[in-house]
């Protein structure tokens, strides 16, 4: 298992409010960045992002806390005491994409205090869906396999569908086509990252 899907992740009311917040915040979405330095690299990632979740942040945090323990157990990833939660909204409009990457910084890029260890992405869009593409492509990323031979699966975004996976699972966002060019018709994503303190030991695993 390299990912788990959670339908009705936020629930219909919260999902609708968050989508409304996204659409109403069009003017304050800024260019998406990559890497620890927060660089804008349009050949790697094209989209717009927003950290401000307004008054919805608390309710979203509670939904993440509700689902995360189950996801960690299903995925068989190393679990740690959760010491923080990083959230952002991303709007994928016409032509948006994000090339293969992982969500965790390692080596010299590694942050001083905390590491991401679980990624949860929840999709939001108006009905009927007015964009095509934008699939989440997840790679197995086995070191024994050459990158070009790496197996992958594509997941089609669905409103209020969340996908959880290890933060260092290689993944990409396939190009989005949004013919109306309307911001409201974009593919929106709520990105959530569970954080652990850098020197925290793993929690004892439960045996399968």
């Amino acid at each position: 298992v390299i990912h788990v899907g959670i339908e009705n992740f936020l629930g219909p009311v919260l999902a609708a409010k968050l989508l409304e917040h996204c659409i109403a915040s069009e003017s304050v979405f800024g260019a998406s960045t990559v890497g620890a330095g927060g660089d804008v690299k349009s050949t790697v990632r094209q989209s717009r992002r927003l950290e401000d979740l307004g008054t919805l942040r608390g309710a979203i945090e509670r939904r993440v806390a509700l689902h995360a323990p189950w996801a960690i157990k299903q995925l068989g990833i190393t679990a740690y005491p959760v010491k923080g939660l990083e959230l952002e909204l991303v709007a994928h409009e016409e032509g948006a994409f994000y090339k293969r990457h992982i969500d965790l910084f390692t080596g010299r890029d590694r942050s001083e205090g905390q590491d991401r260890f679980l990624t949860v992405v929840c999709y939001l869009h108006r009905e009927p869906k007015a964009f095509e593409g934008g699939e989440l492509r997840l790679f197995e990323g086995l070191p024994s396999r050459l990158p070009e031979e790496d197996r992958f699966i594509d997941i089609e975004p669905g409103h209020d569908l969340a996908i959880a996976f290890s933060s260092w699972l290689p993944h990409e966002v396939r190009p989005v086509r949004c013919p109306s060019l309307s911001f409201a018709d974009a593919r929106f994503a709520l990105n959530c990252w569970l954080l652990r303190d850098r020197n925290d030991a793993a929690l004892a695993a439960e045996l399968a």
């Binding site: 390299i2 995925l75 068989g76 190393t78 965790l104 890029d109 590694r110 086995l142 030991a201 695993a205």
Partner: protein
């Protein structure tokens, strides 16, 4: 001392996974990421099972017993292979041995 000249390892010790080692499962394999180096370390099915057992705080002796049973392999062979794996992971600073 063992036949290969290394000090004998106390099999009642547990394996402590380093905070810089993060693991995930792919099929019956386990991939370990060394966060400091950004390097990957792959474990086959037997190594993957050992990693899961160590993560569940089983001793080396308990790990040998369970793996010998599950993979229908002689305990002596499993012991040799696991001690070699422990040594490799220790050299890579991905695990330590408990006191």
């Amino acid at each position: 001392m063992t036949d290969n000249g290394r000090p004998a390892m106390n099999l009642n010790r547990k394996i402590i996974i380093s905070p810089q080692a993060m693991a995930r499962t792919v099929g019956d394999e386990v991939v370990i990421l060394d966060l400091d180096k950004g390097a990957y370390f792959g474990l086959n099915a037997v190594g993957a099972r050992a990693w899961q057992l160590w993560a569940a705080q089983k001793t080396i002796a308990e790990t040998v017993e369970l793996i010998a049973l599950e993979f229908e392999a002689p305990a002596e062979t499993v012991t040799t292979d696991l001690l070699e794996l422990v040594q490799d992971l220790k050299t890579a600073n991905l695990v330590e041995l408990s006191d």
